[in-house]
Amino acid sequence: MPGFTHLHTVSGFSLRYGASHPERLAERASERGMDALALTDRDTLGGAVRFAKACAKAGVRPLFGVELAVEKAEPDGREKRRTPVRGGAFIDESTPRVTFLARDGARGWADLCRLVTAAHTAEGTPLLSWQDNHADGLTVLLGPASDVGRALAAGRPDRAARLLAPWREVYGDALRLETVWHGREGTGPGSLRLAARTVGFAAEQRVRPVLSNAVRYADPGLGPVADVLDAARRLVPIDGTRELDSGEAWLKDADAMLRAAERIVEGAGYRRDTARRLLEQTRATAAECLVDPEDDLGIGTVHFPEPHLVGADRRTAQRTLASRAAAGMVLRGYSGKRVYWERMHRELDIIAHHGFASYFLTVAQVVDDVRDMGIRVAARGSGAGSLVNHLIGIAHADPVEHGLLMERFLSKERVVLPDIDIDVESARRLEVYRAIIGRFGAERVATVAMPETYRVRHAIRDVGAALSMDPADIDRIAKSFPHIRARDARAALEELPELRRLAGEKERYGRLWELVESLDALPRGVAMHPCGVLLSDASLLSRTPVMPTSGEGFPMAQFDKDDVEDLGLLKLDVLGVRMQSAMAHAVAEVERATGDRIDLDAVRPGDPATYRLIRSTETLGCFQIESPGQRDLVGRLQPATFHDLVVDISLFRPGPVAADMVRPFIEARHGRAPVRYPHQDLEGPLKDTYGVVVFHEQIIDIVAIMTGCGRGEADRVRRGLSDPESQGRIRIWFAQHAAAGGYDAETIQRTWEIVEAFGSYGFCKAHAVAFAVPTYQSAWLKAHHPAAFYAGLLTHDPGMYPKRLLLADARRRGVPILPLDVNASGVAHRIELVSESGGFEGVGGTGGSEGSRVPEGSRVPEGSEAPEGSGVPGKVWGLRLALSDVHGISEAEAARVADGQPYASLLDFWERARPSRPLAQRLAQVGALDAFGANRRDLQLHLTELHRGARGSGGGGGQLPLAGGRKTAPAGLPDLSSAERLSAELGVLSMDASRNLMDDHRTFLDELGVVSARRLRDAGHGGIVLVAGAKAATQTPPIRSGKRVIFTTLDDGTGLVDLAFFDDSHDACAHTVFHSWLLLVRGVVQRRGPRSLSVVGAAAWNLAELVELRAENGLDAVAARLAEPVPEGSGDPAGGRRIHMPTGYEMHPWADLRPAGEEPAKARKLWHQSPGSAG
């Protein structure tokens, strides 16, 4: 019995419909003896590439198709239902759906792409209109969900015949009627009677019938998963009293399909052996559909934009590139240097060898366009290693000077597409996209899709809603989990200490866990990839289905970034980097306020104040070096030059940290250990890093020197190192060639050890150089223009820390924080001259003026002169908070408020700025309206009346009771207390703007004997201390020991305390650490250097809870709480299970995840957390 071909199969790419991954379908097809399998996802071809690859692996011929909703030929009048007062309307799924299969090779594929693209031009859900519904290269299956099928289900063969006519007109002989039997009762889809009617109707109408199983999942037993997906798609709970999924829509084997065919033909009144003919028709239809993944989809070929678009209309692209590079040599002053010329020609040869010249020109064109728009742009990645890139203006750093290699980027031996990433200002990223589309045309440019897949939290939410669970329960359970894969839900419950309480009630939720795990990694939506842009020639739309993105309406290819590479489409990564935006904002602010123009790309290298700042480890907000681990590393490494920064960035990667490259490097750097080279010949590449291998480039050089092969070959070898299989082969090859080069066995052995251990971990130096440039620039800004720097940071929020922490840092560094004021604040954060002479007492007399108090001794980092306030000595610049940080303000409102400045009175503000009432109330709460007189509550009352008056229902008729000119009269309401003001600031601005929130607890903390962060610097190694603060960041990164360590940073107003919790304390602490915002921790001081200090936590308490106990019931209640027994540690619950990375090192299964609980940045409440949330 030959295999059966399923012509109608959907995968998980049919959002919230298909329950199996394309790979699984291909595997199962192969296991069940099928030779071919079609993938016909709903509204998308996004799974096609993965499917094609999986089919090639499984030995199954792939057929490509799509299932689309098609406009009805005859529109039917539909009554409009009343708009529901609650809960929303039902999702309308009434449009008929039809399956299209690509038949004639590339033409069929192009037709499919065109149809999908056309369907996505409709408003709302994708819908193919009748005028787009035609194609020569497609086969069409009209199944039970089509209009014809529905008419048959309704018992109206006459109507079915009428509806069939337009289809027959368009598709003629390529039309098939699809019959499906899922063992259902009645005459609906999946019923035997409809299946039989379809076969009978097909015979009557002389249209060929085919048999399919309308597959939604690969294996039997997945019906309940399909029910959950249906519920999630329709946004309703599963209703057990209605018809659920039949459980039959799996990838049945040939025998089962033969039995189905027999039942159907018998039902239609034919003899049983007619079933063979039905199957024969199906097979013939499948045999016609011939689309070759390589030839027809274009996998493996490259398409660049046409040369005339990139400035090469009269000459070849290669010649244009060569002349531009030569011009760059002259422009940059390298024309006299022979090394540069040689290198340039060598690189141009390699580019010509691959024919990639127009690629370089394309990128250069984009970079030029972006720069012309006044947007900061920088190349990153291995592309920075190419001199040609530098010469034509793509990369900033000079690769020859920094010792970067072209071969790491592109060589004759490498056949993959090179990859140049460019960083632009994040805030203007979309402008860049528009410019690229404008330059190359919408038919050549598309953004790349990024499927959002189910992870544990979303899976719990969707399954919980489908199972009618209490929304509060769902929320609590979802938030308890760290951001892990859905399939690990039950394992996490068993093993994670912070989930122990939840694990206790696990049984209550029945099938929840099983269903959650079955949703693992299924796509649940498609978003625009944040950085990829496709650039191609004019044939893009016939090779790629394109849909508009939801917000901006950019064209977006349905393929994700990996698919795009396989399809040979040129992808340019345009990354929006918030730090670039932040720096651009800082520079603009300095220019606005002082008139000085700073060219960041031309700042003096080796600035001592900048390096002093970096060495002080007060690098909060500086690009790449602000994390707790980096601050620790910077403290130990003490960078003094740009090269040190490059090394620092390269060392702080999971690989080098895991391979413990940091310690030998630091020892050698500070002269505590001798510098050793495996062989004298290797001194050249290893000298700069004291004999420690840090960069990929060094491995390339080592291999090239020892074996005498070229660097291009050496790079290929380096790439092979991460694969354990090829590693063995490389080892033998290396030993042979090195021996031939005259090296002795011991040297070879030692060198190989280094290559083996570090080769796959090291970091690409070109990357690190590209990173180090903004690192230096941001540190320079922080050292010289602190106010503007913080203004930029707060406006664009680039870092890992919540804004309130940046504000605390600004306060510590002596930048006066000026409160929000509708007459002074702009849309973005601004700088303001506070004092000409340096002292700035009595700043910002409006409202929260206590905010500008500066803790003594923390104004200026030790040993440096006063920050050169925006370049002019003696002047002090303050930071004025921005309107855009007010919770719930829209861009338009912020702009209106800023444009209308200044306002003379509350009434004036109300009438001209026209804020919404809640916004005006919030502004009043945080003191932005304090200038208009009266206290904040009185102002709120006036605003309410103004609002009432504006609605024309009574009120004061627009007249404000005036007291003394333009001031608002007091109404006698109690003013906000100091704690209420702080709470309002946190609620409205998410920042404690007037003072640090920990200041309020100082008395209590002193009672407890808590050590402040500032005093902790003097604490001795090994001492037991109590620390407290607001949680700023929590991470569980992968670390060398393969254990799970929770790193937390606390901010207590005087500085930061870095904490580490090792796994023996997790049972006692993990839940508290993840789910509380204010923490009190007992721990042991660990000191590793003068600037390297952390506290190893042993016990943790929720400080907010203790504060409340202290306030209500006194110290004894606190003592009682502290005396409560702490759960005992039971060792590592993962039972020593480790994830073995392909590179050989081990990782704890639950490390490297976004941890449980709310992100600290989202904490808006001061003391309490609502009972519904995870805290």
């Binding site: 708009t83 529901p84 809960g87 039902f90 709970p237 003013d975 209420e980």
Partner: protein, 322 residues
């Protein structure tokens, strides 16, 4: 110290027990005002002298009798006026009668949240809270004009008086239970309109028969739909004429339900409340030429009698029996 506010700890659906408990209070004083579903105010001005005991001592007697006769515990607050007695009730526990001290009313009220005042609902309390007036002491201290700007002229004036402990209320004897409620919860998120309607029908039937059992008619009907996220929608409709006729109640309930137009809302329960209860003999009844209405009412009468004899499930609408 003469007014008692009593709350009996009755199970929620057992409002039928209230008249008996009111009778218990009437043994002490004729001036008893029912606060349905489970409370009452009693003016003991005469009783104190008659029994020779103070109101607080009488409160203990009332509790003992309620427990002895009906097995129902109660909480009692005492104060010089009905409002203060009600506020005192908030602080009382079974066996601990809370009394407002006669001379120190202002001090007693100062620390109380505004929502403790009878007549201050959630909306007013929220408004006052937004302006920092969250305790009665602060309200009492705020200027009258400001209060009036906040909540309106009349409410503002009353609010300020009440916050200052000026209690102008009286206990008005009324023996009537003023509302009846019936709720139908669902075991899971229910979206099906037919099942919603079935629940409404069943609730309306129940209300009708309970009203007829006590010879009452209701003037308005309130529908409350509760959703899975613990929010709810409430609609009230005044009936064309006060009635206890199940069919009329059902029609009104359906009308309110249809107007909501619910589709995907996850309904966890529907509740009907009959309000504006009055004696049945005083209700007017629009006669019609259509004999059907007349017949339905007569069938209902018979059905009521059957139910009285054979239990509540003996006769019911066909849709509910399925």
């Amino acid at each position: 110290m003469t007014i008692l506010c009593v709350r009996f700890q009755l199970p929620p659906t057992d409002e039928a027990a209230l008249p008996g408990l009111l009778g218990l209070l009437e043994e002490f004083t004729p001036v008893v005002e029912a606060l349905p579903p489970d409370g009452a105010l009693a003016d003991l001005r005469g009783a104190e002298r008659y029994f020779g005991r103070s109101a607080v001592e009488l409160a203990s007697v009332i509790r003992v009798r309620a427990l002895a006769l009906y097995g129902v515990d109660c909480v009692i607050g005492a104060g010089p006026g009905p409002m203060l007695a009600r506020i005192a009730l908030r602080d009382a526990q079974p066996g601990v009668t809370c009394a407002v001290p006669e001379g120190a009313v202002a001090g007693f009220l100062a620390g109380k949240p505004v929502a403790a005042l009878p007549g201050v609902g959630a909306a007013t309390a929220r408004t006052l809270g937004e302006y920092g007036l969250d305790t009665l002491g602060l309200v009492a201290a705020a200027p009258l004009s400001t209060l009036q700007r906040l909540v309106g002229a009349k409410t503002g004036r009353e609010l300020r008086e009440k916050a200052n402990g000026i209690d102008r209320g009286r206990v008005v004897p009324n023996a009537v239970s003023r509302s009846l409620a019936a709720e139908r919860p669902f075991t899971r998120d229910e979206l099906d309109a037919d099942r919603h309607r079935r629940a409404l029908l069943s609730a309306a039937e129940e209300l009708g028969s309970r009203l007829r059992a006590v010879d009452k008619v209701c003037g308005t009907l309130t529908l409350t739909v509760r959703y899975a996220d613990r929010s709810s929608t409430t609609r009230t409709r005044t009936l064309e004429e006060p009635t206890a006729h199940s069919a009329a109640l059902t029609k009104a309930a359906y009308g309110m339900y249809e107007a909501l137009g619910l589709q995907r809302a996850r309904v966890r329960s529907v509740a009907l409340r009959a309000e504006g209860l009055g004696p049945a003999e005083q209700a007017s009844y629009q006669l019609a030429f259509d004999p059907v209405d007349e017949k339905v009412r007569r069938v209902e009468e018979v059905a009521d009698r059957v139910r009285a004899k054979f239990g509540p499930r003996a006769v019911m609408p066909g849709t509910l029996a399925a």
